[in-house]
Amino acid sequence: MSETMLLIPGRSNKQGTSLNKGKLKEEYLEVTSTVEMNEDDMQRLQLEDGDRVRLSNSIGEFTASCKKKKSKDLPEGMIFIAYGPSSSRLMESDTGGSGMPISKNIEVEVEKVAA
């Protein structure tokens, strides 16, 4: 079962603090490969906190563990991830004559990865 959702990479405190420790360090890698999802979305996809999901689009894919967010904090169909190497995999390289690749509001296919 997969669904199309909107991935929103952004900054977070944890991403910022772990970045200072080192971008190749475990903490940073963990922070940047955890996605926050709406609780109802997770329920529908039969996901629990810590389960692995695969996010993919025509550019690439990555797997991440997921974390529940209340509906009032994160609307349905929206996924948040701390900006980093994982989110970059789904960025297309076309910058539309601007230099900036679309790096937020990325449409992705989301599916549960069997444990």
Partner: protein, 454 residues
């Protein structure tokens, strides 16, 4: 903790674009580490605590330790023999280093681009289209009674933005701090920034432009259809009320986040906000500003602008600067496989760029400058390990509002600064270029500078 402790007052945190210069650092000089950073936010504390001196070679070629001289020579050779060399990064270093980097790129006739292009580059393009009414942050503290953040989450990206500069401080005409201000947040989701807002507008993802455009229409006295709610998630009633508040305030501010620049519409999203602020000046004083990211990315914009005339995405292949984002910006020069060598200073495109760009970066000779091992330094042909600006190295940085500040380093690093390497690299590059031009027979001292006009 040793007894060899010193305190550095009024030091500057260069982690984010807030560039707070009120740090009081406690430094353990024997351990070469900062044990306390008074006034720092959560990100600043991590910045100061984690930049300790780690053992490692200052220069490597293909992963093997070499002397600085050898590495500089190799870097100079790589850069001067390339046909389409690119320089990228520069946000996490001093203006003094940035000035050398632009000079190198000029002499090697390469392209120079900074992390601006993947941060508020689109706002830079918008600025070139519509201009901007803007201000230094102290004006916000002293005067602003209406503050709106659009597409950003400063509580996590710039934790002291609210407390030091905009929302809570008491200023000349805002003696009661937050009580004297209306704070509005526009975002697609609730974030840790949301609680600060008096009004929160949850805009549908990808509808910022439509929302801003509708607001511009209302400001100009045009009717907007109530279907705007269905389109953007924000009701016409709420918008009308908001626009009234904006027109009636004394000093209004719009802060732009990367939720505008990184989404579909990019520069037009930022441009809509800048135009909205400009429009409001028909009624009251209104300003706007992008909330810039990395420490000295604003300095990079300034240095590249004064040296070339353009803020980023500049190419020198014809012997003079040309500007064209989308052509000379780094994501483009890499993912189109145009670049044949890269000088990457204080940034990590190998981790943060689209895959096509990363793939190409892995296939060309890269010269990297970084304070820590990164994905980019790992793939570099020549890798320099440098000291950290603001912690080990002095120099100048520009805050997000273009205010320049001088750094007060806390302790010495065994590693050289970026400028310490870039300066001899610039000299060596220039020597090679002059040598080549002499070999070609062209007198090195000739230019068509002042030929008589007909």
């Amino acid at each position: 903790m040793s007894d060899n402790i010193k305190t550095v007052k009024n030091a500057t945190c260069t982690f984010c674009g807030c560039v707070c210069d009120d740090m009081e650092l406690t430094v353990d000089l024997d351990a070469k580490r900062i044990t306390k950073a008074k006034n720092a936010c959560v990100l600043g504390r991590a910045w100061f605590a984690e930049h300790t001196i780690q053992d490692g070679p200052a220069a490597m070629i293909d992963g093997k330790e070499v002397t600085l001289e050898e590495a500089i020579e190799e870097a100079a050779q790589v850069l001067t023999s390339a046909k389409f060399p690119i320089t990228y990064g520069l946000s996490d270093t001093t203006c003094e280093a940035q000035r050398q980097a632009v000079a190198i790129t000029d002499f090697i006739r390469g392209s120079i681009d900074t992390t601006t292009s993947v941060c508020h580059g689109p706002s830079g393009l918008a600025f070139q289209g519509v201009g901007e009414s803007t201000m230094t942050l102290g004006e916000v503290k002293n005067r602003a009674d209406f503050i709106m953040y659009w597409g950003g989450n400063p509580a996590e990206s710039h934790p002291r933005h609210f407390t030091r500069y905009t929302v809570t401080p008491k200023g000349m005409f805002t003696p009661n701090g937050k009580k004297d201000r209306t704070v509005v947040l526009v975002d697609v989701r609730k974030t840790p920034s949301t609680p600060v807002a008096d009004i929160f507008l949850q805009v549908k993802p990808g509808k910022d432009f439509e929302l801003a455009w509708a607001m511009r229409a209302l400001v100009k006295g045009h009717k907007v259809d109530s279907s705007i709610e269905n389109e953007t998630g924000v009701s016409l009633e709420v918008l009308e009320d908001l626009v009234q508040r904006m027109k009636n305030c004394n000093y209004g501010v719009l802060f732009m986040g990367m939720g505008l620049t990184m989404t579909r519409g990019r520069h037009f999203n930022s441009g809509a906000i800048m135009a909205l602020a400009a429009d409001l000046n028909e009624f009251t004083h209104f300003v706007a500003k992008p909330v810039r990211g990395h420490g000295n990315v604003t300095g990079a914009d300034n240095v590249v602008s004064w040296q070339t005339g353009y803020p980023f995405g500049v190419n020198f292949s014809k012997g003079y600067p040309r500007f064209n984002p989308g052509e000379f910006t780094t994501v483009d020069t890499l993912s189109r496989c145009d670049a044949d060598a890269a000088l990457i200073i204080a940034s990590d495109p190998a981790a943060n760029f689209p895959q096509a760009a990363i793939n190409h970066l892995g296939s060309i000779p890269v010269v990297s400058f970084d304070t820590k091992e990164t994905a980019t330094s790992k793939l570099a042909h020549v890798a320099f390990r440098t000291s950290t600006y603001g912690i080990n190295t002095g120099g100048t940085v520009y805050r997000m509002d273009d205010v320049p500040i001088t750094l007060r380093p806390a302790f010495e690093s065994p590693f050289p600064s970026d400028e310490d390497i870039l300066t001899p690299l610039r000299k060596r590059v220039q020597e090679i270029v002059i040598g080549k031009s002499k070999a070609k027979g062209a007198g090195a001292g000739v230019t068509r500078a002042a030929s008589p006009v007909k």
